[in-house]
């Protein structure tokens, strides 16, 4: 999996809102529902999605799964997967996207898990490491690895943008 690192300034709220509105327009056109599973972003993606009036036509809601227990209880992420791979892993990101899509009865699930900082880095998991995942009718779940180099707020905004970009990519593909 390629690591995508961005060196430009972190995205602004206006950029997030604009991208969320683009995702929303496609969801509306396709008649699909979106659900979000947010760990490190804490609700920022939902906030951006619901900045658009009329978001209730395509956004069902989501889970803010800040704790591991919430990932298990609210999203059916297997405890075993959290133990073996850790919460910040591609496998958990995909399980979160699949879980939220299933739990919320949505066509599209988007998930983020990461280490926003300033603490939490480990020898194999650097500060700013994030996985974003999207599960849509257009194919198997997509996941991307990012390592952002901003401060906590910047990393969170960048992770939200990364998730929305991946969602845009997946919903732009015609369903199978």
């Amino acid at each position: 999996m390629a690591t995508i690192t961005r060196v430009t300034p972190p995205p602004t709220p206006a950029q997030l809102d604009a991208l969320a509105a683009r995702v929303g327009a496609i969801l509306r056109e396709r008649g699909w529902w979106l659900a979000t599973a947010e760990s490190s972003t804490g609700g920022l993606i939902g906030q951006a999605i619901t900045s658009a009036p009329g978001a209730s036509a395509y956004y069902v809601g989501g889970v803010i799964c800040y704790s591991n227990r919430a990932k298990e209880l609210q999203l059916d992420v297997p405890a075993e997967l959290l133990r073996t791979n850790g919460a910040v892993s591609a496998e958990v990101a995909v399980a979160m996207a699949e879980g939220v899509r299933r739990r919320f009865g949505a066509e599209v699930g988007v998930a983020v898990t990461g280490i926003a900082g300033p603490d939490g880095a480990t020898p194999d998991k650097p500060l700013g490491l994030h996985y974003v995942a999207a599960d849509a009718p257009s194919g198997s779940p997509a996941v991307e690895r990012h390592v952002f180099g901003y401060d906590r707020a910047g990393n969170r905004a960048a992770a939200a943008l990364g998730a929305l970009r991946l969602a845009l990519d997946r919903v732009s593909v015609a369903p199978r």
Binding site: S51, V60, V63, Y66, S67, P118
Partner: protein
């Protein structure tokens, strides 16, 4: 307040709530409808959020309020989604879904630009409950644009939760 709260005011309120939760040793969970995740976002601006914030449910659609947070469908049919009874049912449902939570906060409202359910734009209910105790419910009608109404609703949720945690 004649203007919507600023980012600084929101972050400060979230920090105050976080401090109080830390002091009393309570864990918090949230249910957000009209705020769409803003309360969770603000609470997790602080690096120490994981000490006291478990997470929550963004219950944007009526169906999610029922299926995931146990709000009776019959209640929504009768009073709509923006109602004190629904806010109360949302905090009860949040405490049920997050067994480790000592405190839950729920917010439901009409951010706009359109009203619904025969109710005005800006109408917002916040409910806060400590486990085993009755909910405190607050009603407001905010008169900002959509974004401002969401911010004002989030601030109210943070303040009421902070008040309950500080009692």
């Amino acid at each position: 307040m004649s203007r919507p709260p600023t980012e600084g005011e929101l972050v400060a309120a979230a920090r105050r709530l976080g401090d109080r939760l830390g002091r009393v040793g309570w864990q918090l969970a949230v249910a957000e409808s009209c705020t769409g995740g803003l309360v969770g976002h603000l609470l997790t601006e602080s690096p120490s959020a994981s000490d006291h914030f478990l997470g929550g449910v963004v219950c944007y659609s009526p169906a999610v309020k029922c299926s995931l947070l146990g709000v009776p469908e019959e209640l929504i049919d009768r009073v709509g989604t923006v109602a004190p009874e629904v806010a109360e049912a949302l905090v009860d449902g949040t405490l049920a879904r997050f067994p480790a939570a000592e405190l839950a906060v729920a917010v439901t409202g009409l951010a706009g630009p359109d009203g619904a359910e025969g109710k005005p734009v800006g109408l917002t209910y916040v409910a806060v409950a400590r486990r085993g105790e009755g909910a405190r419910i607050e009603r407001r009608i905010f008169e900002h644009a959509r974004d401002g109404n969401k911010r004002a609703a989030a601030l109210l949720a943070l303040e009421i939760a902070g008040a309950v945690a500080g009692e």
